[in-house]
Symmetry: D2
Amino acid sequence: MVRVGILAGSGYIGGELLRLLLQHPGTEVSFATSRRYAGEYVFKVHPNLRGVTEMKFDVFDLSKHADKADIVFAALPHGESVNVVPQLVDAGIRVVDLSADFRLSDRAQYPLWYGYEHPHPDLLGKFVLSIPELNRDQVKGARLVASPGCMAITTILALAPLLRARSLGVDPAHVVVDAKVGSSGSGGRPSLATHFSERFGVVRPYKPAGHRHAAEIEQVLSSIAGTQVKVSMSAHGVNMVRGILSTSHLFASGEFKPVDLWRAYREAYAGSYFVRIVKDRQGPFRLPDPKLVVGSNFCDVGFEIEERTGRIVALGATDNLVKGAAGNAVQSMNLMMGFDEKTGLAMAPLHPV
Amino acid sequence: MVRVGILAGSGYIGGELLRLLLQHPGTEVSFATSRRYAGEYVFKVHPNLRGVTEMKFDVFDLSKHADKADIVFAALPHGESVNVVPQLVDAGIRVVDLSADFRLSDRAQYPLWYGYEHPHPDLLGKFVLSIPELNRDQVKGARLVASPGCMAITTILALAPLLRARSLGVDPAHVVVDAKVGSSGSGGRPSLATHFSERFGVVRPYKPAGHRHAAEIEQVLSSIAGTQVKVSMSAHGVNMVRGILSTSHLFASGEFKPVDLWRAYREAYAGSYFVRIVKDRQGPFRLPDPKLVVGSNFCDVGFEIEERTGRIVALGATDNLVKGAAGNAVQSMNLMMGFDEKTGLAMAPLHPV
Amino acid sequence: MVRVGILAGSGYIGGELLRLLLQHPGTEVSFATSRRYAGEYVFKVHPNLRGVTEMKFDVFDLSKHADKADIVFAALPHGESVNVVPQLVDAGIRVVDLSADFRLSDRAQYPLWYGYEHPHPDLLGKFVLSIPELNRDQVKGARLVASPGCMAITTILALAPLLRARSLGVDPAHVVVDAKVGSSGSGGRPSLATHFSERFGVVRPYKPAGHRHAAEIEQVLSSIAGTQVKVSMSAHGVNMVRGILSTSHLFASGEFKPVDLWRAYREAYAGSYFVRIVKDRQGPFRLPDPKLVVGSNFCDVGFEIEERTGRIVALGATDNLVKGAAGNAVQSMNLMMGFDEKTGLAMAPLHPV
Amino acid sequence: MVRVGILAGSGYIGGELLRLLLQHPGTEVSFATSRRYAGEYVFKVHPNLRGVTEMKFDVFDLSKHADKADIVFAALPHGESVNVVPQLVDAGIRVVDLSADFRLSDRAQYPLWYGYEHPHPDLLGKFVLSIPELNRDQVKGARLVASPGCMAITTILALAPLLRARSLGVDPAHVVVDAKVGSSGSGGRPSLATHFSERFGVVRPYKPAGHRHAAEIEQVLSSIAGTQVKVSMSAHGVNMVRGILSTSHLFASGEFKPVDLWRAYREAYAGSYFVRIVKDRQGPFRLPDPKLVVGSNFCDVGFEIEERTGRIVALGATDNLVKGAAGNAVQSMNLMMGFDEKTGLAMAPLHPV
């Protein structure tokens, strides 16, 4: 059994890591930390786990915890992970970090997007930004992994095949990403903005410009495209708890027909169980929709062509807490530790829900 | 591997049976029938199963299907199952029936509640109404099982300990059951009543009196109480897809303190993994709520005492498609076929969702 | 023009008073107070009023405000109103109080239900608990009015005709009230319980026993019935912002047929525009549902009979912020100040919404 | 009193016309037609109007109805209006048409977007596409008016100031419009796509390319910009009943600072009560959101600048049934008949809802 530890287990991503890892056939959860809920039963914070575990939350203590885990999942906030994770690295522990602190390879991006100078720029080169469908082999060999942001991975998986296919002639300077996300993406801390009476029924453009996930998307897509990609991203909160739909609008100057796009997607994701290409002729389920992936590690991708305007619309849908966070982290761990990629993650989505 | 067949696999309960049985480690789904969608891929109807199965729906044909299944789950409508299931019985096939057609042991109830004379009253005595937490041993030995209605099982599990405990002095003639249910309980057929713009945001008292599940509840509780119990039931549709909260109001003349009720519930459900007693001192998760069981086979039960009015409020919460239907059916099958009760059913609920 | 003031104008009830009174053809809002938002534009707190008013919130100051209002609406919290309102009374200002502090006529009830000794018991006899449909003439002559709780008025209007009709033989000791309410009833203060991710999709039994509105209901119904009525009340939070459905379960020993109940309701509410009797033969709109009164001052009432169990189910539905609070308060003011009861309140509900 | 008639009064837009016109101080509704519900009470179809009107639906009959209305609102489906409205025109009756059949001035567009040759191209030049905030004077003098599509008007009002301001250098060939709409926009006809269990919780890209409202938007914006504008539009269904958020992404090559955009919007909408410029520094209400206009005729507009990518994000929010349809139609009627523009339309939005 692989012994795993979870840092910041009381947030929504922490709870999802617990749900997945407690039910994973190859792992044993050695500890889950939480400053706020230290000493409390896990199920008091994550009521779904009542009857599932009698664990309590711990305060993190490297000297105590270092020996207890073969791998640690860090779900700490941005800016905090950057100070804690290096201690784990020094102690020789494998890490899957779910913050943004080790996602960007260029240290110069941190002041721009996150407002701090990275204190451990040497580590940036040692972390693999894990999107197994794009860099499975790299992840297999890694000891240190960063899992991308929920909107980033959803968008990247929808766009990668199109930016890789040079013949499409996608304009890299005008990639518009319009994302719609559920409330769980903004965490468990109550505020006026998340007060039910204020949050119910919204289509709230909470970050129309300057969203940080654009940095990750540009990093990965530029590398795939072989040219600098510029992402114009807007994020909206919608009336649901789980899920992301990322709608990308691309302008393309090449020849492109449906068959070309089909081929691009199929080649990209052959052998990738967790990416489903969803593009039927008709019916309400014919294109990606986050409703159809709830509770699963699937990322559904699909597309539409508008000849009149020279536009490709690329769609990606995930459960933001699973493939958008904890699920992708566990999938990465599976690869790192020699499990089959699907282990503990193959549950089908719930429908209807 | 146990070979299973599913009749009427295209409805919501059929879809949930497919989800559970396709992922069950001890079963193999031999066929799933649907008149309407015969020849279609299962995943076109149940989009969550895209990528999970390449099965297609079949038309039911006893001569073709009889040899292919060790056990059949029938999710046919009331009044239709009663004509199909006897053919399976005659063919010697084990059956878990999810309709109401074999739930009531007294044939005289069928004209009253369902408007038809039962054509096979001899079979009524051969079916076990399966609520494993109450009659596990009976189910283990059964070849023919009826799974109760979603509101029935949720209410029965909440009330059984109180009606068994004679010292509480519960008034059996004035048991009020006020149920709140999600839309999936009324199936997949579009109508004005289920049109999103009309159904969204309702608290609709769709069956304030005369709900059929009262018959099942009375049958089971009367047997437990040793006296005729009369259930005054009202059912309301609320703004969600999955889930039931059953709130029962009992008047009691005996001495009852929290400790007595705790004891009654604990004794009743010791060893029953799928019933969680939920009664904390504080917090939004302190009592049963269907939100906290979504996607799982749990039935959460809890209670509150109001001394001033001599009232006990008993609460039960389930995911109506899982413990309220397909999950309880699979749990019954596990017992019938010698599996551990939890096999294929132990997934934790999703939270938040 | 009647000059009105609003105390505690920044809460949801305060906002609704502002919405109604700013659009009322016979009133002019002189001031609206808020400690927390003093000096802020009203529309920053109530974004619906952007473009509607340029008012700012004031700190309450009797010396400054006494001369500016012919009548004051107090939407202060329970326990706070009781200290502020007497100052207005002393200053000779008419008051419509929306807290519970002047609703109960028996001072002995305050320690039991609200945990405090009433400091001004003499005032209790001077306030009229205003339900115009039941005591219109009293309200017309009043200078001091208390508006009932949202669940109270909804339940009382549904039950009053049945308790008045002695021939029905309603059992006054076993009146079960099962209420389902939207989030706005619990106000605008964020907490874990109201955090969107935790509150979305619930059917949460937040007060299964001991709800304070039972006291008001018992007071009014006992007076109507001419005997002590005992109310067994449970309150549930459901997945919506506005609205209440109150489902009452009565046991009755008399002769009662639909025609008798129709007569009781019709006689009770002839001439009462804001009570609609909703009881059609069929269709999704055949009984009261809070979805169908959103934004209006209507209280829909209806009923169903279950002969088998000797039960009458009585249903009431309101928009909790309108007829359940601010609307009833404005209706009361209309009567007190000589306006037609409907003035400024006759807007139809929104549908669908 | 202006006598009005309503064709196709049983749909959602028809219902909203009835709600507004029955409460309008200057109009009297002479008739409302519906083939399907002829002879039925209006309130059986629009349950919000119970108690508000005792009208019944009529079958349309020109000979009978021509004398009864000074103006007719036609809410017929596209392709049907085009055959009925010319009869009204011939009879000399003023018309506000809410279908698409008279919106496009270029007859060549009809085969492209709507699949039919326009049978009355001569009428196209006689109808004014009414957006009072942009062409108030034209509407004042008109006898024949077409009211734009819900997504069209919402988008046009958000974009018009930016396309008028030549100094911004907006790229007219790459205007991306990403719209999120509630279910009421797709009408009252049940289907699998609108079945509650399937529609709840979606972010469904139901028309990622080729949406017909693009034609209207291009027509108006091209005229304002003085050059051909190309609109790349995608429409998504989200989890609510009422409301639209239109997010437009523009690329601009000129100099633009917040102050320039503020000026453009202020100049455009000075004196237009129903357009609110929403752009605060902080808080959850700082930008347009359809939640904040529910039930009102407001169109909220706002913007954000992203210098890094040379992008302006322009936001528009309406209640699709009010400013997006019936409200704009009544506003147009007000102008045509000499009423103040706001008459019968000044109700504030509901909040929270």
